[in-house]
Assembly symmetry: C2
Homo-oligomer: 340 residues x 2
C-alpha cells in the first residue's frame, strides 16, 4: 500500500476495500447489541433501538487547517455531531461517517485523523456502524471533508430540549469560556500563529456538561454555539422561543488571549465559534445549582451570563461593560469560512 | 439575494439562515409524526420510531458532471442512499442531507439540484428532517458535494437482507439492464457525449423492485451494484456468504449502447455502476415467481443470470458467450472516479 491516497482507493473495488478495512480496524465499538454494523461492510447498518425516541444529526466538516492546536478535523467531526445530539438532551449511541479525500492525501495524516475521530466516539461510548469513502482527483477538493451522523436516544424520562423552549425568567448559563475554536482557526488562517501562545481550540464533547446540567436543574433550551458563536445561538433561542435574552458582557467568560486576538483580527468574540461549550436557559430556581454542579465537576468557568425576558420578543440585548445596552445582532457577512 | 453562492451563505449567520429557509421551503414532508424536523432548524432532528429495528445508511455524492442525462447530483444523492436502505429489506422513512458547495456556485443550479433531491424523497414518502450547509472558497471544492443519510424501518415481519446470506442453490436475479449510469458518466468525462444517443443514467429508487421481490419470494442477499458494478457486488456476496456465484454472460441484460460504449472506453460493462438496479439471490423455488412479478410490474429486463454454488468459496465465475468459464475478479485500478 502506497503512503498516498490514489483514485483507486475511492473506486469501490479491491484497493478501496483493503484500505477501508485497514483504516477502520482500530474501531472497537462496531455495532449496537450485535446488530449489523461495521464488520458487515454491507450497504447499510442496523440499530435495534432501546427507545422509540431517536435523535439524529448530520454535519459536514470542512475546517481549514485540518490540524490545529487542540484537535484536527477528525476529532472535530466526531465531537461536533455528538454535541448536536447532546444539546437536545439525548445520549449519543451510534455514528456513521463519510470521508471525501483528495487524491495524493497522506495516508499517515488520514490515519491520524481517523484515529482522533475513533477515539472521541469510543470515549463517548458511541459505536461507529458504517460509512462511505470517496476520493476526488487532485485539485478538485482541498484535502479532506468529513461528514458525520450521530444518533442518540432520548430516554423516556427526559424532555427534548429545544431552542424554542426558553421561558421568561430563565437564567442563561454558558458552560465555559467562549470563542477559542473560532479564534484559533481564524488566527491560523490569518497567518498569525505566533500570537496564539498556549491558546487551543475548545473542541470537546459536551455530553458530560449536559448530563450534569440535566441532573441538577430543568434545562429549557440549549445550543452549542458553533458557527456564528454565542451571538447567533442566543438570537436563535430568542427568536424561536418568542422571548428576549439579555446578557451581561461582564459575566461572559472569555480568555484574555481570545479578547486580544479578536482585537487584532477585528472580530467580535461573541461571534466566534465554540466547539465544546453549551449555552442554556435554565429554570431560575435551578440555575445556581447547575452552575455549582458544573464547577464541582471541573467546568470552573461555567457562569450565569444573563436572563430571559418576555418583552422585546426575538431580541438579544447586551449590557456592555461600559454600562450601556445594545442589541446583539445575528452575525452577518463572511466571518471566517471553514471554521468547522 | 444574489444569484451566486457567497461565503456568507455558509457562515452560520443571517444570510445562511435566509438561504436555507428559502431553498428548503419546497419540502412538504418535514417531520415524522410531527416530531422535531425541518421546521425547527434545531441542532438535531427527532424520529419517534414505530419499530425498534432501524436501518441507516450514509453516502457522499461527488459525481462529475453534476448534471447528466437521467438525473443530477441531487437526484442521485437521494436515490443512492434510499437504495442502500431498500436492499437491506427496509422501508426508507426519513433523510438528512449535508451540502458542501463552492463559492460562486449558481443559485439556480443549486435550486434545481435540491428540487430533484426533494422530489425523490417526496415520491418515496421519505421525510427530510434536517441537514447542514457549508460553503468552501472558490477553487477549494469542485462545485458541490452532497451527503445524504437515509433511515428506514425494518418491519418485524421482514428478515434483514444481508450480503452474507446467499445460500447454495439460490438463483441470481438482476432487476434490469446494467451499467448505464457508469457508461453515461464515463462517456461524458471522456468527452464523447455525441456517442451517448438516447442512453441515460438508470438512476432511480429500487424500493418498488425490492417490495415486489420480497412479496413474491424469499430474498436471501441483495445489493445495488454501484461503484465496481455487478462484478464487485457479486464478489462481495460470494465472499461474505462463503459461496461461489456462477453467472451466464448471455443472460446478463445489457443495452447494446452500453456494450458499444464499453468497447470504445475500454472498460468491462460488468464493472460499470448502476444506480437503479438490484442484484439478488433468491430461493430457487421462488426465482421464477419473482422475475414474473417484476415483469408484470414493468421491470421487463429482470432476469435470472446465474446461481449460487457451494464449491469454490468466495469466487465468481462467468460463463462467457463463447462458452468458456472465467473468474470474474473484483475490479481493480482507477475505474472512473466520481461516478457517484
Amino acid at each position: 500500500m502506497s503512503d498516498r491516497i490514489t483514485l483507486a482507493h475511492g473506486a469501490g473495488g479491491k484497493e478501496m476495500e483493503a484500505l477501508i478495512r485497514k483504516l477502520f480496524a482500530r474501531v472497537k465499538l462496531r455495532s449496537i447489541n450485535n446488530a449489523v454494523g461495521l464488520d458487515y461492510f454491507d450497504d447499510a447498518s442496523q440499530i435495534i433501538t432501546s427507545t422509540s425516541n431517536v435523535i439524529v444529526s448530520i454535519d459536514s466538516y470542512t475546517v481549514d487547517p485540518i490540524f490545529f492546536p487542540g484537535g484536527n478535523i477528525g476529532k472535530l467531526a466526531a465531537t461536533g455531531s455528538i454535541n448536536d445530539v447532546a444539546v437536545m438532551g439525548a445520549s449519543p449511541v451510534a455514528a456513521l461517517d463519510s470521508i471525501v479525500v483528495e487524491e495524493g492525501f497522506s495516508l499517515r495524516d488520514l490515519e491520524e485523523i481517523i484515529d482522533s475521530l475513533v477515539k472521541v466516539f469510543e470515549s463517548e461510548g458511541v459505536a461507529l456502524l458504517g460509512g462511505d469513502f470517496k476520493v476526488m482527483p487532485k485539485g478538485k477538493i482541498d484535502k479532506i471533508v468529513i461528514t458525520t451522523v450521530v444518533i442518540g436516544y432520548l430516554p423516556d424520562s427526559h424532555k427534548i430540549i429545544l431552542d424554542s423552549k426558553a421561558r421568561p425568567g430563565d437564567k442563561v448559563i454558558v458552560s465555559g469560556t467562549i470563542g477559542e475554536h473560532g479564534a484559533v482557526i481564524t488566527a491560523l488562517r490569518m497567518g498569525i500563529d505566533a500570537e496564539l501562545g498556549e491558546l487551543k481550540s475548545d473542541c470537546m464533547p459536551v455530553t458530560r456538561v449536559m448530563k450534569i446540567a440535566m441532573e441538577n436543574g430543568e434545562i429549557h433550551a440549549a445550543k452549542d454555539p458553533t458557527r456564528g458563536g454565542l451571538a447567533m445561538a442566543l438570537n436563535e433561542i430568542a427568536e424561536k422561543s418568542g422571548v428576549s435574552v439579555i446578557v451581561d458582557e461582564e459575566e461572559i467568560p472569555i480568555r484574555d488571549e481570545v479578547i486580544a486576538l479578536s482585537e487584532m483580527l477585528g472580530v467580535d468574540p461573541l461571534s466566534l465559534a465554540c466547539e465544546g461549550r453549551v449555552v442554556m436557559t435554565v429554570d431560575p430556581n435551578d440555575a445556581e445549582n447547575v452552575v455549582k454542579a458544573l464547577h464541582r465537576n471541573g467546568f470552573s468557568d461555567a457562569r450565569i451570563i444573563g436572563e430571559v425576558k418576555k418583552e422585546d420578543e426575538g431580541i438579544v440585548l447586551l449590557r456592555t461593560k461600559a454600562g450601556g445596552l445594545r442589541i446583539l445582532e445575528k452575525p452577518t457577512g463572511e466571518l471566517t469560512p471553514r471554521i468547522c
